[in-house]
């Protein structure tokens, strides 16, 4: 077993187990902390794929900002362990799990079909890829510039919307 494969299996185990824990654990705060763990695992997986910059951004944006926001909101609510964690109805629950299973089957089938194509075009390289941050930036600001600008507008709209939503009907800064 080489170091690379060991790393992959370990990270995959961490990511999947903590991902599963998010869904299963009934205390939402533990769920959020497990999700943070999963994000760090995903970030490390990005690093094993040679996407170092994306890995760092994943760490800063997801683990460092978005998830901290979740944890903060949960702690502000101070929810205890939920008595009823999952939605009611045994039959509908089974149906939902069956749906998920079928989806998993579809995905596996789709992947097994695409893999031959992918392995043909790009040989799996074992050498560590050089730092691609510069090329990534160039691509983002040339080919994908329209999407980038659109996202900027979207973020502005969302920032305004969220401020509006949070201020309405008494927030922490409401004028009574």
């Amino acid at each position: 077993m080489t170091a690379d494969s060991f790393l992959f299996w370990m990270l995959a185990a961490v990511t999947l187990c903590s991902g599963l824990a998010v869904v299963v654990i009934s205390n939402p705060i533990y769920s959020a902390l497990c999700l943070a763990m999963s994000m760090v695992g995903v970030s490390a997986l990005f690093a094993t794929l040679g996407a170092y910059f994306i890995a760092g951004v994943q760490m800063i944006v997801y683990a460092g900002a978005v998830l901290v926001l979740f944890v903060m909101v949960l702690m502000l609510f101070d929810l205890k362990t939920e008595l009823v964690t999952f939605s009611r109805g045994k039959i509908s629950g089974l149906l939902k799990i069956a749906t998920v299973g079928v989806l998993a089957g579809f995905l596996a089938g789709a992947f097994s079909m695409t893999i031959e194509f992918a392995e043909k075009t790009g040989a799996a390289t074992t050498v560590p890829t050089p730092d691609t941050s510069k090329a990534l930036g160039t691509l983002l600001f040339t080919k994908y510039i329209l999407g980038f600008e659109t996202l900027g507008i979207l973020l502005l709209v969302i920032a305004i919307g969220v401020v509006g939503l949070a201020r309405s009907k008494g927030g922490t800064h409401a004028k009574h």
Partner: protein, 108 residues
């Protein structure tokens, strides 16, 4: 021996299967949980699963476009989390619980 090869030789399919499993886990969370914030977290999990497959394809096809898409997904995820949490907070202020079932009061 293929059984050994699967363990030691990590390729695109490993990452894709991992991504699929993570996506399915997230989807199960969305379908089964009742707490709105856990629902949002499960959606984040699904988006992350998609990100893994983007980056994996970007490496094995030797194109950077996948990584650019990861940027876009992250931005959308952050925006979605902000809006979702704002709605959850306003639901919580009214009902002191963040059950998904209270969202039916949003109409009108």
């Amino acid at each position: 021996m293929p059984s050994i090869d699967i363990v030691t030789h990590i390729g695109l399919n490993h990452y894709l299967v991992l991504s699929a499993l993570l996506f399915v886990t997230g989807m199960a969370g969305v379908l089964l949980r009742r707490n709105v914030i856990v629902l949002l977290m499960s959606i984040e999990l699904m988006l992350n699963a998609v990100n893994i497959s983007f980056v994996a394809f970007s490496k094995y096809l030797d194109k950077l476009d996948g990584q650019v898409l990861v940027f876009f997904v992250m931005t959308i995820a952050a925006a979605e989390a902000a809006v979702g949490l704002a709605i959850a907070v306003s639901i919580f202020k009214r009902y002191k619980e963040v059950n998904i079932r209270f969202f039916e009061h949003l109409k009108g």
